[in-house]
Amino acid sequence: MQPATPLPGTQDLLFEAARRLRRCEATLCARFEAKGYAEVIPPAIEAADVFGPEAFRALDRSGRLIALRADFTAQVARIAATRLSGMSPLRLYYRGSIVRRVAPDSGPVHERLQAGCELVGAAGAEADAEILALAAASLHALGIRGRISLGSTGYFSALAAAAGAGGRLAAALNDAIDRKDLPTLRSLCEREVTPGKARDALLLLAQPPRPQTEAGELLSRAEALAPTEDALKALQRISAALGAARSLGAELEVDLGEVRGLGYYTGIVFNLYATGAPRPVGGGGRYDTLLGRFGDPRPAVGFSLDLDALVPLAC
């Protein structure tokens, strides 16, 4: 027999570590409930097509491809689009663990503890702001200082489309922007993108983040360069969300280079950073097309928190 230790990427939580996790979960759930969110507990396994290629998959006895939960948002979207179809707005929260392959279709499998909220059926900037404020309030409730970095996947896609950058070039641009690698971004743009507004706007994406109070200047510079209606709309959504989320103050910053997020995000995206954690401790965004996959096209926005990272920091 193999030595009986947990698999890499998984862990046993004992005694005080278990108590801390449950305390944090209780704190977060109380906060979510106070804001009118209701808990849903989806199953640990689903039909594999609910998730992306990062899910850990297996065949059941009938030969059907099933997967371990790799993402709560997709499950909540399935629930909202089927059993709760037509009820708007819906405020739902969840907590539990997800299991993912580190790299799609390969690599070791990791388990992560999460909690999060989804606001379904609300398309406006107020909904974006509600989710941003609730994400910030969640960190506060745990006694953690943090920052929210707000961007938009919609803006990057609009610029890439306007610049005629598809496939490999779009992926290379996205990677350079994600790494704030201005030298690479510049040389890609100079070699492979035709000069024009779209190229100038792409070059702005590796700029450092701006605190909310100074974001207006960056956004109006970007708006002046917006090459298409879609790009302009994406920027206006960021401005509108900022306007509606005034109360967040210095904790919120705008980073047009915040292009990283799950594949189904369509509008604003954000990542949460906490003092003491070397990686983002959570994130979220707007996903207006995901519910349509389950037959009930409705807009939605949400966030999730990485409890493995947050619990050790919580007081």
């Binding site: 920052r147 690698d181 983040p209 910053e253 950073y273 070397p278």
Partner: protein
């Protein structure tokens, strides 16, 4: 307080020059001091590491930023920001083989390749659909091809003299390497007030 991962070896002197230019000067000489952590005024300190360890220290937040070659950034696959290309430490990651051998045509079997860069090597051959029998070595990679352990090597080439003196020639270039500034993703946001002025002076 910013913690800066400083590489040992050939990148150290030019890296220190750039930091000195930005007003960050270590209080002891990192090349001779036995100290592992060296203060640099009240706002920064250096940790001195092998350059291959720099990406992991920065990714995991033990250092907020650091200097290492692009080869190490990509080989580590660490999730980092890379905002500055310093331009020094210029060299190339190359596929090299004994003069006169036919590495590219030899597709009847897996190619045996020795390297200190298993990830980049497998990626490069993978994209070309060439199966590789990889030999992961810790040093003296040229010897592998010279002694017949492998058909070819993947290694850094600076001047090409070592290759030449051992009867090896460059078959293909895999990557142009220069020293990069690597920055931790969270530190970039959370220590932005200290980080951005320093990045501006370093850039």
């Amino acid at each position: 307080m910013l913690t800066i991962a400083l590489p040992k070896g050939r990148l150290q002197r030019p890296a220190l020059e750039r930091f000195a230019h930005a007003g960050v000067v270590p209080e002891d000489e990192p090349g001779t001091s036995r100290k592992l952590i060296i203060a640099a005024g009240s706002s920064a300190r250096f940790v001195v590491l092998k350059d291959g360890d720099v990406p992991l220290y920065v990714e995991r937040g033990a250092a907020d930023l650091g200097v290492c070659g692009l080869d190490q950034v990509l080989e580590s696959a660490a999730d980092l920001l890379t905002p500055i290309d310093f331009g020094f430490g210029r060299c190339r990651l190359c596929l090299a083989a004994p003069r006169g051998s036919s590495v590219t045509a030899e597709l009847g079997r897996s190619l045996r390749v020795a390297t200190k860069y298993p990830r980049l090597t497998l990626q490069w051959f993978g994209r070309r659909g060439v199966p590789v029998d990889l030999v992961h070595l810790a040093g003296s990679v040229e010897l592998a091809a010279v002694s017949g352990l492998t058909d070819a090597i993947v290694d850094l080439v600076e001047t090409g003299r070592t290759l030449e003196e051992n009867g090896l020639v460059v078959v293909d270039e895999i990557l142009q390497v220069t020293a990069r500034l690597v920055v931790n993703r969270a530190a970039y946001r959370l220590k932005v007030e200290e980080m951005l002025p320093l990045l501006e002076k370093l850039g």
